[in-house]
Amino acid sequence: MLQVLIQGLLLSGLYALIAVGFTLIFSIGRVLNLAYGAYLLIGGYAYFYFTQAIGLPKFAAVLLAAVIGCALGILKFLLIVRPLRGNHVAIEISTLILAVVLQSAVVLAFGDSSKILLPIIPGVERVAGAAVPYSNLFAAVMSWVILIALWIFIRSTHTGRAMQAVSMDAKGAAISGIDADRVNMITWAISGTLGAVAGVFFASYTQLYPGMWVAPLIIAVAVVIVGGIGSIIGTLIVAHIIGFMEVLVSTYLAPELRGIFTMVLIIAILVLRPRGLFGREEL
């Protein structure tokens, strides 16, 4: 029981971090960034390259992965999203293609086989019969720290309030002197950074492989659909629902079924409550 609780909490924290970068873009830019999983892919491989190929300190490698994610987010906004502004289908298809292209690039650079990341912090703690790797604990704690920092940023800075404003009323934001393009670019930068960092943690949870952008994308989409548009609190709650559901299913039913219930939940919510559990257009 305690084991399920601990594993559920750890996994849910990570899922919340994975989903929040995607939620940000969806609530502010109103587009589904289907290349979101690619941030995690690139972030994970960048970390792998900097630590295990070049031998940089782990902390520096996480930072560099974050910088690369940030740059990727900005480039994606400037080269794809801004020119295609208003055409959501085109943006969504281009981002999906981009994810596939990035996957091929990773295969070309690092090969097809999966890689194991060395733990960020080695060691395992035994709690109530459950083995809790320090790495997973670290990932969960860092996820919470990042999420709280993001929440404070959005609630109490001018830029954060401007992001909320653009998501709630574009004209109201414009006549308040907010440049929506700039706010959008900042949002894409934050989203890319969060995605890349989440990728490092996600890869250390599972393993590094070129197709690893799909699973986090499904988690992120699930959280947005189940939680409703863009509420950070909603994102947190739903990440915990999904995280705990996966842990419960793989503990008491079968590990192979863990992803299935997430998908069934998506479909059920789409049919029963299309606006999501917490659906209101808020950050």
């Binding site: 401007a162 909320q164 109201g172 934001a173 006549i175 308040s176 002197g177 440049d179």
Partner: protein, 234 residues
């Protein structure tokens, strides 16, 4: 001296033309009104001043051309706007709505908040309420407050009385006069309610299907048949 000068301004939505060579000027420290029936182009006129539509012609503010400027630039030069539907941020508190208005004037937040709370004591009481749960009158106050947070010299207000109870209309009129007299703001309002406009403004311009058809002082226009014609047809 004219604070705002509009010279042959035309506005377009796609191929449809919503304003036809509108020219008018607004003297500093005055309240002027643009009246007209629904669909006459009143909101389009104010949106166009704010750089929110596609236009030809010229708009000058304080002697400098602002045609083609970004809305952000126009706001920071000193034009505040309270739009017809308010365009508030529904799931933010009153206070946060006001703070968004301070995006371009961050140094004046303390001073402006104090002035707004003096003008609208109710906003001070309701600071933590979300605007989605407020009445129309309160939303109008938040909307005006948000515009004032940008430290404007010119305030544009689209239909300040629309949907409001008569008592609230009088309060709003009082606030607009105080903004002119105590804060030396220049105010441009649009109105469907011609009587409200005639009682408040020093000059009134009559807009009919995108064209200015008459202008003058309220006492001269009150019995002008062109005013009635703008509402009821010729």
């Amino acid at each position: 001296m004219a604070l705002l000068e509009i010279d042959k301004l035309s506005a377009f939505y796609g191929k449809a033309q919503a304003l036809h060579e509108v020219s008018l000027s607004v003297g500093a420290g005055s309240i002027i009104a643009v009246v007209g029936a629904n669909g006459a182009g009143k909101s389009t006129l104010l949106d166009s001043i704010m750089g929110l539509t596609k236009t030809t012609g010229a708009v000058r503010f304080d002697g400098a051309e602002i045609t083609g400027c970004k809305t952000k630039e126009i706001v920071s030069r000193g034009i505040g706007y309270g739009p017809e539907r308010f365009n508030l941020f529904p799931f933010m508190t009153v206070r946060d709505n006001l703070l968004v208005g301070a995006y371009t004037a961050r140094d004046d937040i303390g001073k402006n908040l104090a002035a707004i709370h003096k003008l609208f004591p109710r906003l001070a009481e309701r600071e933590t309420q979300e605007t989605s749960t407020q009445s129309g009158g309160e939303r109008q106050m938040v909307s005006l407050g948000r515009a004032l947070m940008s430290s404007p010299r010119l305030l544009l207000v689209d239909e300040p009385t629309i949907g409001l109870a008569p008592k609230v209309c009088l309060e709003i009129a009082d606030v607009l006069r105080r903004l002119r007299d105590e804060f030396s703001l220049t105010v441009v309002i649009t109105e469907q309610n011609a009587n409200f406009a005639l009682s408040l403004a020093e000059r009134v311009h009559v807009l009919e299907t995108g064209r200015l058809v008459a202008e003058g002082r309220p006492e001269d226009l009150a019995n002008d048949e062109r005013l009635a014609a703008a509402y009821f047809g010729h």
